[in-house]
């Protein structure tokens, strides 16, 4: 019984110094419908890997000059190349070398002489693995910088949290509901999507991760999961950029006689509990704690204050002299006993 081909063609790199083996493997894989490039040595292989995308590398361990171990190490040490599954090809008496490679991080191995059935099975398994990794990365890249995505993909995630110092940013569209009611729903969605596109970029660029979208509101975190000492400054810079982009957008909207968006941003910094919450099947990265609540309250206060960007004392302390900051008020938020100093950032 043959299984139907579940996978489309892949882009394969064969690294093999022995000519007969090299053309044998290349041809065998091409017969399966894959696009195959062959390299005769490790150096050539690494050059190709830098220039073109590949889905799988089939790597011979035993090669003169740069041997398989060195190629493997180079791939695993490169953030981009690390995600490409590597299948080690070896002669049957090299089991020690194979084990060493697998321990280093190679994904699979094939014994030479190659069995066509096993070759097909292993290649398909690795293609599947690659596709899942690509999808995962796409998901992460939409919400976080590639730096954060790299970290998450490398370390995986464990449910549970830890105390970290972070800045939390909340952003809402002012009077969104009434705006939505006055428009065609499809226009509202289009506006919303444009708005998201505009504000996600500055957050990403400043090392933040958007962890929640609730209606028109978003919550972003700076300084977690990857800690950075300047999270306060990055959060405020991101906010200033968001406002700048919105300003340009609004000018264009005005020219077209369309609705403009006003936003309110609140930032608070301090200790949070950060981590993945939910279940193994469905989890999000989030922060909880007083700092988060405060950021949300401060964001809400932008309506009352009539200022688009408000921050707390802790956030203010992370800013250099060149920021224009004005003490707005000392506010006792509902449910709190102590007043909190709130600052407006002019941009």
């Amino acid at each position: 019984m043959t299984r139907s081909k579940m996978h489309g063609p892949g882009r394969l790199l064969v690294v093999e110094d022995n000519k007969v083996n090299r053309i044998l493997l290349q041809r065998g894989l091409e017969q399966e419908g894959h696009a195959v490039t062959a390299a005769a040595n490790g150096k050539e292989a690494l050059e190709l890997l830098q220039r073109q995308p590949f889905d799988i590398v089939l790597l011979d361990i035993e090669m003169p000059e740069m041997n398989g171990f060195e190629v493997l190490k180079a791939c695993l040490g490169d953030t981009r190349l690390r995600e490409i599954p590597i299948i080690i090809t070896s002669a049957s008496d090299e089991i020690d070398s194979v084990v060493k490679c697998i321990e280093m991080g190679a994904d699979d191995y094939l014994r030479k002489p190659l069995n066509p059935v096993l070759l097909r099975a292993r290649v398909n398994a690795s293609l599947e693995k690659k596709r899942l990794r690509d999808e995962q990365r796409r998901l992460f890249d939409t919400l976080a910088t590639s730096e954060v995505a790299d970290e998450l993909l490398k370390e995986g995630f464990a449910l549970g949290g830890k105390h970290v110092e972070a800045s939390v940013l909340f952003c809402d569209i002012r009077s969104f509901t009434s705006m939505a009611e006055s428009q065609d729903p499809s226009e509202t969605m289009e506006l919303l999507n444009t708005y998201f596109t505009l504000i996600f970029e500055p957050i990403k660029e400043h090392g933040g991760i958007v962890n929640q979208i609730v209606g028109d509101g978003i919550m972003a975190i700076f300084g977690a999961p990857i800690p950075r000492a300047d999270h306060r400054e990055q959060a405020v810079l991101a906010a200033i950029e968001m406002l700048g982009l919105l300003k340009d957008f609004n000018q264009e909207q005005k020219l077209r006689g369309k609705l403009q968006i006003e936003i309110g941003i609140g930032i608070a910094a301090g200790r949070v509990i950060a981590g993945f919450t939910g279940t193994q099947e469905r989890a999000i990265f989030t922060c909880i704690g007083d700092t988060v609540n405060l950021a949300s309250r401060i964001q809400n206060h932008t309506k009352i204050a009539g200022k688009p960007l408000l921050i707390d004392e802790n956030a203010r302390q992370g800013l250099a002299e060149n920021f224009q900051i004005e003490l707005l008020d000392s506010i006792t938020f509902r449910g709190k006993s102590q007043p909190v100093a709130v600052f407006s950032v002019n941009y």
């Binding site: 022995n18 000519k19 007969v20 083996n21 044998l24 041809r27 002669a91 002489p113 069995n115």
Partner: protein
């Protein structure tokens, strides 16, 4: 009395299935180019007492022979590879000659099989 062929037909057929009947000729041709060079290098390495070069060449030949199903040739190459690994090349002169003879048998068999493929 039937004598053991130099090529295991089952393995050869698998190889043919893997690369396609229209490519097997090219593969065999490549082997005919590479193998004599390897054997020559084995002789040279033996003369120069260079175990590493000896080992690497024996390893290559072992691998290629196995791909075609040339089991005896592959075993002989494997034995030479082990000697190369041990560093003791003193006794290998005759073994290389025997290997060379076996290669000729293999080549004859491959020519026949290639012809049958056409």
């Amino acid at each position: 009395m039937a004598h053991e062929t130099a090529i295991d037909p089952k393995i050869f057929q698998e190889l043919k299935a893997l690369v396609g009947a229209d490519f097997i000729g090219e593969l065999i041709e490549t082997f005919f180019e590479e193998a004599p060079v390897i054997i020559k290098r084995l002789e040279e390495a033996h003369q120069a007492n260079n175990p590493e070069v000896f080992r690497r060449n024996a390893h290559s030949l072992k691998s290629n022979a196995a791909s075609f199903g040339a089991k005896r040739l592959s075993e002989q190459a494997k034995a030479l590879e082990m000697l190369g690994r041990s560093g003791e090349l003193g006794q290998t002169g005759d073994s290389i000659k025997l290997l060379s003879i076996e290669y000729k048998r293999v080549a004859e068999e491959l020519k026949r099989l290639r012809h049958d493929s056409k």
